[in-house]
Amino acid sequence: MASGFQVDSSLLDLLNLFRRRVAWLIWPPVIASLVSFLVVQFVVAPRYESHASILPQQISEVTAKQPVLERGAFLRGFSFRDVTTRNSTNMELMVSDRVRRGVVENLDLVAFFGTAGRHPASAEGATQAAMEALAQATRFELSLQLQVLTVRVTTRDPETSARIAAAYLTQTNAANLDRIHAYAKQRVDFFAERLAEVKQQVAALGAQIGTQVQRSRSAAPERELEIAYGFLAPLQQRLLDLHLQQDRLGRDQAAGSAERLALAAEIRVFESFLADIDSLAEARQGLLPTPRNSQLAALERAQLERDLDLLQALEASLLESREAARLEAILDVETLTILDRPIVAAEPTWPRKRMTVLLASVIALIGSAAGVTFVDALARLGAGSPALGWRRLLGET
């Protein structure tokens, strides 16, 4: 029964429909399965996939096992700055022209992909075409959560697929190493330059400490004081004599005023002279090796020595870093942790013959059943005429 809105069928109706249209339900799946079988058997070239999965590598974990120089001794357990390869970087490297070119050239993929024939005049053109073909044959899958990077290579030859996957790992490792080595060399240069500066500073500070020690040991202040005190005693005696003479003149009424004035002037000169000597003596007194002065000198010296220690520690650290960087610049470590090594596939990935044939027939059955049901619905809507049903269907829609 058909109404304006729907088509109503019983199981019997459906069975009758399928019985009437049995050819439509049988032939398409049969033809689809036959054609798909012929295609997968004789037309489609088998494709073989190899894959490799990697994790990023912590370089420090590797190099920590290497003996390295530390403060003049060979010790184990020296820790580098963490040089960590990341899979996002690894993936960028893998898709880079450099790695692709490396894979193409190392495995002679120009011949494998047959690109030389398309670019007979240009070797570079053939290489570029092979790189493009390689790109089409390769897939990368990066799990951000697990940090696992998988390289899938699908070609017509299982061995070449595995070799390409392995070559990707090798080339990526080499590219990673080049990057790490270049960076390490930059660090060696920097540390060397900085080391030279620190060495100069150490030398200057050592000289300053030597001067301070020598000056603290010199006797100059004592000698200057002795000289000053040597002058002081006769001057004080002479001043005392002048004061006594002034007293006598004060008691002598006959003495002239001119004589007293001259004596007073001479006394002022001596007093001024003695004051200068006193201040000089006082100044020199401060330089004498008193307990307070010794403490200050010791502090100053300790400070200088501490600065020197710091500089020497920095020098040692720079030396270590430079040696570590030099080591890093020459070490060939693995920058990738390989979870799955590529293996040669025994069975082709595509075509999967049984699955393809089965699915082809199922899809054909679905499509033909849908088509038969649709045509039947049109016929019912049009009371036996699919054309009328079609017009009605369009009208209802």
């Binding site: 109404s3 304006g4 809105f5 729907q6 088509v7 109503d8 069928s9 019983s10 199981l11 109706d13 459906l14 689809a32 993936m91 898709v95 790109a135 089409q136 390769t138 897939r139 990368f140 899958e141 990066l142 799990s143 951000l144 999967r352 699955m355 393809t356 699915l359 082809a360 199922v362 899809i363 054909a364 679905i366 499509g367 849908a370 088509g371 049901t373 649709f374 619905a377 269907l393 209802e396 829609t397």
Partner: protein
């Protein structure tokens, strides 16, 4: 085999037997249960991920329906919009033969057939108003269950990871977004959004008591909070658009204030009671720069890529083959595109359904796919002009709004196999059926009795 495994198998067997018997007596109950199991689809998968509770339930439903046809004389009804889908199914089957990835295309043809059959079953098995009520009850229970799970999850994240981490990572970090029972926060948001719209439409029933109204509003409040915590902008858009459409309904206008209060209450709850306040503000403000952030740029990228695949693909009229998008974009934008698409969208489709259809099926594919939806909208328009029972009328309103917002959502998300979309198409078919059609003397009637159909056939074996 251990005793535990034996008990498990025995339990599964008894459960399957019970489900089978229930399917024979009351298959509509299993349709209602299928709503609950959609939310569990991402948990407890077996095999290659195909054996889920939802899929098992559908298999039982198909078997029960066939038995009823065989022994109970049940008739198969094909609604017009589902008939219109058959040409696209034929086209998908044919185009899978020239798809770049034939095996994947073939599996998806089977999947498409199965979701179409699910919609046909829903259209055939829902025959009474109480069955629609049961379906709405299942939707409410599922929404409550999933929402509470989402709330507890976010509170746990805040307690375990710390508010500081939540605020630092913000809404773009998937780890701090509510997932509920889903694997993806956007899936949770979309699911709860559709259920919320159906429940909101349930408020349009005139015979709904204050207990029913309060219960629906409470569930909606919890669900709105969970949708906010999912930080799914497309789900927010879906609910916002749906509410605008509901505001046109005279019966729902009194609830506009309630909806606003629930939305504000949910926002206040997130702002005050959870450490997600800052993230929520940032997410809301990100609407202003849509297309600039990562996911926006990624959607643009996929859409533009799809257009490019269509323009220089196999053929502009019939496209590059069913489900060939992943393979084609890999060839066009090798290789980072594949990486991004596989690991950031999780699908082999563009995030815009029409673009995917255009790239894979060309103009013919788009046309054939759009026709069933146009037909469904036409059917909906026609049904809305007819009198219906209280529940049928409210579900019809819900279907109309959900179908419109889902079609809008196809611009942002790939939804070809979305269970709720096909459930909606099935419900439209059910209400368009004779069981819900008014009798000649019932014009204008709105009571349940007026819309009751003749007794549906029941299984006799």
């Amino acid at each position: 085999m251990s005793i535990g495994q034996l008990l498990l198998l025995a339990g599964a067997g008894l459960g399957g037997l019970g489900a089978g018997l229930l399917a024979l007596r009351q298959p509509a109950v299993l349709v209602a249960l299928s709503v609950l199991t959609i939310s569990l689809d991402y948990k407890g998968r077996l095999g290659e991920g195909f054996i889920t509770a939802n899929n098992l339930l559908k298999v039982v439903l198909i078997g029960a329906f066939l038995v009823q046809m065989l022994c109970g004389g049940r008739r198969l009804r094909l609604p017009i919009h589902l008939i219109w889908f058959l040409p696209y199914l034929v086209f998908a089957a044919i185009s899978s033969y020239y798809s770049a990835d034939f095996l994947q295309a073939g599996f998806y043809v089977v999947r498409l057939t199965l979701v179409w059959i699910y919609a046909v079953l829903v259209a055939n098995l829902i025959e009474r108003e109480w069955q629609l009520s049961l379906l709405l009850l299942a939707m409410a229970a599922t929404a409550l269950f999933v929402s509470v799970t989402a709330h507890m999850q976010t509170l746990n994240i805040a307690a375990l990871a710390g508010a500081e981490l939540v605020q630092k990572q913000g809404p773009d970090a998937g780890s701090v977004r509510a997932l509920g029972t889903f694997w993806d926060a956007n899936a949770l948001g979309g699911f709860l959004g559709v259920l919320s719209l159906f429940l909101t439409a349930g408020l349009a029933r005139a015979n709904l008591g204050w207990i029913g109204r309060t219960a629906i509003l409470c569930v909606l409040g919890v669900a709105f909070g969970a949708v906010l915590l999912s930080f799914s902008r497309s789900a927010w858009l879906m609910i916002g658009l749906g509410m605008l459409l509901f505001a046109r309904e005279r019966r729902l206008r009194p609830y506009v204030g309630w909806f606003l209060a629930l939305g504000l209450g949910g926002a206040l709850y997130v702002l005050i009671a959870t450490p997600y306040g800052q993230a929520l503000t940032a997410r809301v403000l990100s609407f202003g720069e849509l297309g600039q952030d990562y996911s926006g740029r990624f959607r643009w990228y996929l859409a533009l890529s799809g257009l490019q695949i269509w323009s220089d693909g196999m053929h502009w009229l019939w496209g590059s083959g069913f489900h060939s998008f992943g393979e084609q974009i890999w060839r066009h934008w090798y290789p980072l595109a594949t990486h991004d698409m596989m690991y950031h969208s999780g699908t082999n489709m563009s995030h815009t359904l029409l673009v995917t259809l255009l790239a894979e099926g060309g103009l013919l594919g788009v046309l054939l796919f759009v026709v069933p939806f146009v037909a469904a909208l036409r059917v909906l328009g026609r049904l809305r002009r007819q009198p219906h029972g209280e529940v049928g009328g409210s579900v019809l309103l819900g279907c109309q709004v959900v179908l419109v917002v889902k079609l809008v959502d196809t611009f942002f998300n790939p939804l070809m196999y979305d269970n709720l979309l096909w459930l909606t198409l099935g419900l439209i078919g059910a209400i368009a059926g004779p069981a819900f059609s008014p009798r000649p003397g019932d014009i204008g009637a709105r009571s349940n009795r007026a819309a009751l159909p003749i007794d549906p056939p029941t299984a006799r074996c």
